[in-house]
């Protein structure tokens, strides 16, 4: 067969399909893990009826979604209504091609030298589906949910993008593979870019409409927000889109700040060269490391969901525009100064000190809750 055909069509498609299937399996597993883990945190069981430990719930849910009646409101704007659930799904799938799961070239579908920009561009289109869906349903709650998500996702796109700039400055590349290799040689980027990492973490929660930023679908306020009028597979598409984007964002934070498929400064001899030397096995090891890290961040989403109440809309905007964006800009400025002075090493120490302080604050013995109510008897 033509070699060019193999390089440019067959392999990429095959790799995309494999990545796609893996990610879809994670999405399905994530659904089960989230519900079981939430159950564990909330003194209840979670789904445990279908199959051992409720594992077959993963299959039962799609079957239910497919078999359910697909209701289209008669007053809905048909084209936009159908388009709504599809749009968030497409960028999520495409982005999977751009993320390096393991050492290139085998475990990276495509290596684009402006990969990061492409990912940002693609993920930001996901909001259209939600706005369209919310508007086309011809329901006031859906409309409010759609508008909220539009404002929220557009606002948080800014700190999301700005937080990445710091990483770009120290690594000097938009290519995700280069960024990972840089972290392998130096240290994981979350140390020198601790502030950026924090902003990225918060913004990615907001981008995904997850608690505490789940305002667009705030159940107790807007019934179900933008997907109130969606049923059956259309709703499943929205959910699939949301979970896929969660995985995309977790993959991004792992790639940008936590060393991708490498173990970075911990090493354990598993450098990219060694992994490459081991061939397919090495790639699998790299991919396993990558997905374990991704899983940890996915679990953090669940942890957040179990812990936090929901922000109010104006407070969300305040946090985005008045706190996150100035902080991200300041981070860029400070990083620039350090790079100009040639003191990159100092940033690592700042990161370590910050983490130490945070850990100290978290684990210091808590004072008894102050009695805030005046007691009169």
């Amino acid at each position: 067969m033509n070699k060019a055909l193999m390089t440019y069509l067959v392999w990429p498609v095959a790799k995309f399909l494999i990545a796609f299937i893996i990610v879809q399996v994670i999405v399905a597993a994530m659904n089960w893990i989230e519900r079981r883990l939430l159950g564990l945190m909330q003194a209840r069981l979670g789904p445990n009826r279908v199959g051992p430990k409720g594992l077959l719930q993963i299959i039962a849910d799609p079957i239910k979604f497919i078999l359910k009646e697909d209701i289209v409101p008669s007053s809905a704007e048909k084209v936009a209504y159908y388009l709504g659930p599809m749009l968030p799904l497409l960028p999520a799938f495409v982005v999977f091609c751009l993320i390096p799961y393991g050492p290139p070239p085998t475990f990276t579908v495509t290596r684009v030298n402006v990969g990061l920009l492409l990912i940002l561009a693609l993920t930001s289109t996901a909001v259209y589906g939600i706005i369209l869906g919310g508007w086309a349903s011809n329901n006031k709650y859906s409309l409010m949910g759609g508008l909220r998500s539009a404002a929220q996702m557009v606002s948080y796109e800014v700190p999301f993008g700005l937080s990445i700039v710091g990483v770009l400055m120290i690594t000097g590349s938009l290519d995700l593979v280069t960024i990972v290799r840089y972290q392998e040689i130096n240290a994981w980027n979350f140390l020198p870019q601790i502030v950026a990492c924090f902003i990225f973490l918060v913004s990615m929660n907001a981008e995904n409409n997850r608690t505490p930023f789940d305002l667009p679908e705030a159940e107790s306020e807007l019934v179900a927000g933008y997907h109130t009028e969606y049923s059956a597979m259309k709703f499943a598409f929205f959910m699939l889109g949301e979970y896929s984007m969660m995985i995309v964002n977790s993959s991004l934070i792992v790639t940008l700040f936590f060393g991708g498929w490498t173990l970075g400064m911990f090493g354990f001899g598993l450098t990219t060269e060694v992994l490459k030397g081991m061939g397919l096995l090495g790639g699998l090891i790299g991919a396993t490391i990558f997905f374990v890290k991704v899983m940890l961040f996915l679990l953090m989403y669940v942890w957040f969901r179990a812990t936090f109440p929901r922000f109010r809309f104006d407070q969300l905007m305040d946090l985005g525009w008045k706190f996150m964006i100035p902080l991200a800009l300041a981070n860029i400025f400070v990083t620039g100064i350090f790079i100009l002075l040639g003191q990159e090493r100092l940033m690592y120490w700042i990161g370590i000190v910050t983490i130490a302080l945070a850990a100290f604050y978290l684990f210091k013995p808590k004072r008894a809750a102050a009695q805030k109510v005046v007691h009169a008897s």
Binding site: L38, Q42, A43, A218, T307, F308, P309, F311, F313, V373
Partner: protein, 371 residues
């Protein structure tokens, strides 16, 4: 200059966070509430009219169904009113009184737990919901052990109590009390100092003490505004005068203070329960009913009596013609109904998200609002 696009939104009657079938006609400008008008009556069952056609003891199960998450206090209010009419209040045996106090304090705990659960989930905190239901389940188990019912207890009779405490019940209560303070600490660890929770509740729906009194608000919302008014102290009934407890009072009258007041009240209820256990052990077993006639026919006249239900002042106004076994007129003053009045004033200028917090903080039960 600007064209204001007001939108009318029907908030309810079928909405996840209206706690039943409350309908609020919202006029919103974007997300800001211009006007909120509660529309009630979707759960109207004509309870007051039903009372006119039933003998007094038959009314007790119907009182259960008003504030259906706090039926013991509903029972208590009704039987006390009838007893007051008959002039037998002093004759109620001490054991029965203590049992009534214990049941109503347990009920207060369970009602406040349900309030916290729904209030928290309305504001988006999912986990306290399950934690609260874990403890509430234990309270309901205690109710079930006593009277067989978990929700609509029907657990009091005019002149006393229907049956004695089952064997080991007091030990179960003691066990529950021992663990309950730690459970409240657990809820508080998730919410009290949580910044998001504070941002969602501090300064929301502020009621000054004067406003609160003008609206006729009672219960935790009134105490949250800093007015020290608790009918257990102000108009003591049963054996409350000899029990030690504090009345928690807030300062700012906002949603956060009302939250703190209710959390403190749960602890105080627990304190009362702990005091009741040794007291009730001193009383003779089986001494449960006052010597009153089987046919209850109060003398002609009218009486108003109110108790402190978990939600505020629960009052019954009964008119008897002295000839029949049923009331000539029975009016109920439900705390939720009166407290709900303040909703439009409290919601003015807040956002839609706050409306949910406000409905939660008033702690309404629609069975009681509509009767």
């Amino acid at each position: 200059m600007f064209d204001v696009h007001e939108m009318e939104v029907n908030f309810g009657p079928q909405h996840p966070s209206t706690h039943g079938v409350l309908r609020v006609l919202l006029k919103v400008d974007g997300e800001r509430i211009i006007d909120a008008k509660p529309v009630i009556g979707y759960l109207h069952r004509g309870t007051e009219k039903l009372f006119e056609h039933m003998a007094y003891p038959q009314c007790i199960p119907h009182t259960d169904r008003m504030d259906y998450v706090a039926s013991a206090t509903n029972n208590l209010g009704f039987v006390e009113t009838v007893e007051k009419m008959m002039g037998v209040t002093k004759m109620i045996p001490r054991r029965a009184q203590l049992m009534r106090v214990m049941l109503s304090e347990l009920q207060r705990i369970s009602s406040h737990l349900l309030w916290l659960a729904t209030h928290a989930i309305d504001i988006g905190a999912m986990t306290p919901f399950f934690y609260c239901f874990r403890e509430r389940e234990q309270v309901l188990d205690l109710f079930e052990a006593y009277c067989g019912a978990r929700l609509t207890l029907n657990c009091m009779r005019i002149g006393g109590m229907p049956e004695d405490l089952p064997y080991g019940w007091l030990d179960d209560v003691e066990e529950f009390c021992a663990k309950f303070d730690a459970a409240v600490d657990e809820y508080e660890s998730l919410l009290t100092n949580n910044r998001i929770w504070k941002r969602r509740t501090v300064g929301i729906g502020v009621l000054s003490p004067e406003e609160a009194i003008d609206w006729g608000i009672t219960g935790p919302p009134l105490r949250g505004s800093g007015v020290e008014w608790d009918l257990r102290r102000a108009q003591p009934y049963e054996c409350y005068p000899e029990l030690e407890f504090d009345i928690p009072v807030g300062k700012n009258g906002d949603t956060y203070d009302r939250y703190l007041v209710r959390m403190a009240e749960m602890r105080q209820s627990n304190r009362i329960l702990k005091q009741c256990i040794p007291l009730i052990k001193q009383t003779p077993e089986g001494d449960l009913k006052a010597k009153i006639s089987k046919v209850i026919r109060p003398p002609e006249g009218e009486v108003y009596h109110s108790i402190e239900s978990p939600k505020g002042e629960l009052g019954y106004y009964i008119v008897s013609d002295g000839k029949t076994q049923n009331a000539y007129r029975c009016h109920v003053r439900p705390p939720s109904f009166v407290n709900l009045q303040a909703l439009p004033a409290m919601a003015q200028g807040h956002l839609v998200s706050d409306l949910v917090a406000l409905i939660g903080t008033i702690d309404i039960v629609l069975g009681e609002v509509d009767r």
